[in-house]
């Protein structure tokens, strides 16, 4: 993918899609780690993304902090916010977590548009319009300098994807596997569900906030439209296509979803309608996402003489 700008360097449209794919791939991966691996029904991923974007924008516009630092600060702020949300809600049962995190999402809109948001510099319903580009080593990274921004995003994407993969493969990841299979066994092994969930929540919200901030400096303007259900559903489609908890799947999901979403853009207000229908159909018919589909193709080729039904029967007998 790194060589693509050499061919597409002149085509802004495709470069834009590539950058958005990279950003969304990381955000969706974080959600996959929360939902699929940690087993937390968090619906607050978009709100963390927006909090990151807004904090970096406010810090750099109102306080004149250089974007390079404001992005890192935005990540830390979002991480702290994630812990604050996680503290009361990670002890709750599944649907409650979904509800509380989604309520946080819904509350952000009136907050950012209202007097409280305007007081901290969110710009009310108009949003923030003049977010400075990132400056580094005399280079400027923004939507006016697509190629340089692409490489910056690619670099950050690789770094944070590696961190996420390390988390999945590490002791943490194993701990989560145990937690998901049997919380009692995990507790007897001394694995605290709450501690691990809070840690993973903090890490993923930090990364999500960082990429939200990156997005803010890329497009240069923000509004509360980012919190519409539309964006939320797009992120969810990536998960459904990729398969929940089938890690690299969600990245494939991001590639497909961002591209299709861009292609559907001329449909205007019918686009979200079609996206909704796509979610329904995919959930009903695509069992484990693309990865599940590939798995089944491979296993159906390998299967020579063992009848799957008899295997199921045997394992039930045990």
């Amino acid at each position: 993918m790194g060589a693509l700008p050499l061919f597409f360097g002149g085509t802004d449209y495709i470069m834009n899609i590539l950058i958005m794919i990279l950003i969304w791939a990381v955000v969706a991966s974080c959600w996959d780690v929360i939902m699929g691996f940690a087993g937390i029904f968090s619906f607050g991923q978009v709100s963390f993304y927006v909090i990151g974007a807004y904090s970096s924008a406010i810090l750099s516009v109102s306080l004149n902090i250089p974007p390079l630092f404001s992005i890192i600060l935005a990540g830390i702020i979002t991480g702290i916010f994630g812990v604050l949300v996680g503290l009361p809600c990670l002890r709750l049962a599944g649907p409650y977590v979904a509800l509380v995190t989604f309520a946080v999402h819904m509350t952000l809109v009136p907050f950012l548009r209202g007097p409280l948001g305007r007081a901290i510099g969110s710009g009310g319903s108009q949003g923030i319009l003049t977010i400075p580009p990132i400056e580094l080593l005399g280079l400027s990274f923004s939507s006016d300098h697509l190629v340089s921004f692409f490489y910056l995003t690619l670099f950050l994407t690789i770094v944070f994807t590696l961190i996420l993969v390390m988390v999945i493969k590490s002791y943490w990841g194993t701990a989560f596997l145990v937690l998901k299979d049997s919380e009692n066994l995990a507790a007897s092994l001394g694995i605290s569900a709450f501690k691990y969930k809070l840690m993973v929540f903090a890490l993923t919200s930090f990364i999500t906030g960082l990429f939200g901030a990156l997005y803010a400096h890329y497009v240069g303007m923000l509004s509360t439209k980012m919190l519409s259900m539309d964006v939320f559903t797009i992120l969810m489609i990536m998960m459904v296509i990729g398969g929940i908890g089938k890690y690299p799947g969600v990245v494939i999901g991001a590639v497909i979803t961002v591209t299709v979403n861009q292609l559907l853009a001329p449909l205007g207000m019918y686009r979200p309608l079609i996206m909704g229908a796509i979610v329904i159909i995919l959930v009903l018919f695509l069992r484990d996402g693309v990865i599940g589909l590939i798995d089944r193709l491979i296993s159906s080729q390998k299967k020579v003489s063992v009848d799957e039904n008899s295997l199921k029967f045997v394992s039930k007998e045990e």
């Binding site: 939902m35 029904f41 503290l87 009361p88 809600c89 002890r91 709750l92 049962a93 599944g94 649907p95 409650y96 979904a98 509800l99 509380v100 989604f102 309520a103 946080v104 819904m106 509350t107 009136p110 907050f111 548009r113 209202g114 007097p115 409280l116 259900m229 539309d230 939320f232 559903t233 969810m236 998960m239 459904v240 929940i244 207000m269 019918y270 979200p272 309608l273 996206m275 909704g276 229908a277 796509i278 979610v279 329904i280 959930v283 009903l284 069992r287």
Partner: protein, 290 residues
């Protein structure tokens, strides 16, 4: 000042009565089927448009009486089909709860934008249930408000009666308490799931018909209502019908007073704060069991 407080309390009571209708429907579905319906608010908006089509477009005779009469079978059918076609095929998966959430969220998006495509993005208003006012001393009550209050409370009582006195209602309770035990004594679990979904859809549809007279019909308004109903359910304790009844009135009052004193924009923030504090102290909600 005193009169204003009375006024605000009355509007809180009316909000509370309708919220209770919707929250009880949601609690019922969660308590029985364990499915998390994100499209719930969209059915509320559907109720509003249903009444609008019958009353404004078709000018049906009999006014709201005919609307209610028509709404019950229509919403029953919609809810029943929804469960049979979309939700029950997912039950065979291990992570079906997550899948149901995602599917209903997609359905909500689809319905909201379908409403917008069919009826246009502008809000619509319904004619009032009753015209005129009642004056008690210096206090002025709208007959419409009283009508809404009485109707939603009687709907609640009606559903309570159905749950406690009919065979279907008792079967629903049995499935909620112990799905396997219910199956052993021959209760068709899958039909009960669908029936519960249908009953809750009727409840939220009637809530939409009633509340949309006061608030306008907004094609995108479903999400807010859904969040409100969920907050009430979580606050009261998931699956506890009595809990959500209390919670609905508490939140109706809170909303009326915060909206009056601080402005409507703070209502959602106040609601969320109350929910977070409650859940931090009592994770199972007001009346929920562990």
């Amino acid at each position: 000042m005193f009169l204003e407080i009375i006024d605000v309390s009355v509007s809180g009571l009316i909000n509370g009565s309708i919220y209770s209708l919707m929250a009880v429907g949601l609690t019922l579905v969660y308590g029985v089927t364990k499915a998390f319906n994100f499209a719930y608010g969209s059915f509320y908006i559907f109720g509003g448009y249903f009444a609008w089509i019958l009353l404004v477009q078709l000018g049906i005779t009999g006014g709201y009486f005919s609307v209610f009469f028509a709404a019950v079978p229509v919403f029953f059918l919609v809810g029943y089909m929804l469960e049979k076609i979309l939700i029950s095929p997912l039950r065979k998966y291990d992570d079906w709860e997550m899948k149901v959430m995602m599917l209903t969220l997609g359905l909500a998006l689809f319905m909201d934008f379908a409403f917008q495509a069919v009826f246009g993005p502008r809000v619509k208003s319904l004619p009032g249930l009753l015209e005129g006012t009642i004056e008690i001393g210096e206090m002025v009550l709208f007959q419409q408000d009283i009508g809404i209050f009485v109707l939603s409370i009687s709907c609640m009582l009606g559903f309570g009666w159905v749950l406690n006195n009919t065979r279907t209602g008792m079967a629903v309770q049995a499935v909620a308490q112990n799905p396997m035990g219910a199956q052993i004594v021959g209760i068709p679990k899958n039909s009960i799931f669908a029936a519960t979904f249908a009953i809750s859809t009727i409840m939220v549809g009637l809530g939409g018909i009633l509340l949309c007279q006061k608030n306008l019909i907004d094609p995108m308004g479903g999400t807010n209502i859904m969040i409100k109903a969920w907050v009430i359910t979580a606050f009261g304790g998931m699956g506890s019908i009595r809990g959500s009844l209390y919670a609905a009135f508490i939140l109706g009052m809170l909303e009326a007073f915060v909206g009056w004193y601080f402005g409507m924009i703070h209502v959602q923030i106040a609601t969320l704060t109350l929910l977070l504090v409650t859940l931090a102290i009592r994770p199972q909600g007001l009346m929920g069991r562990e």
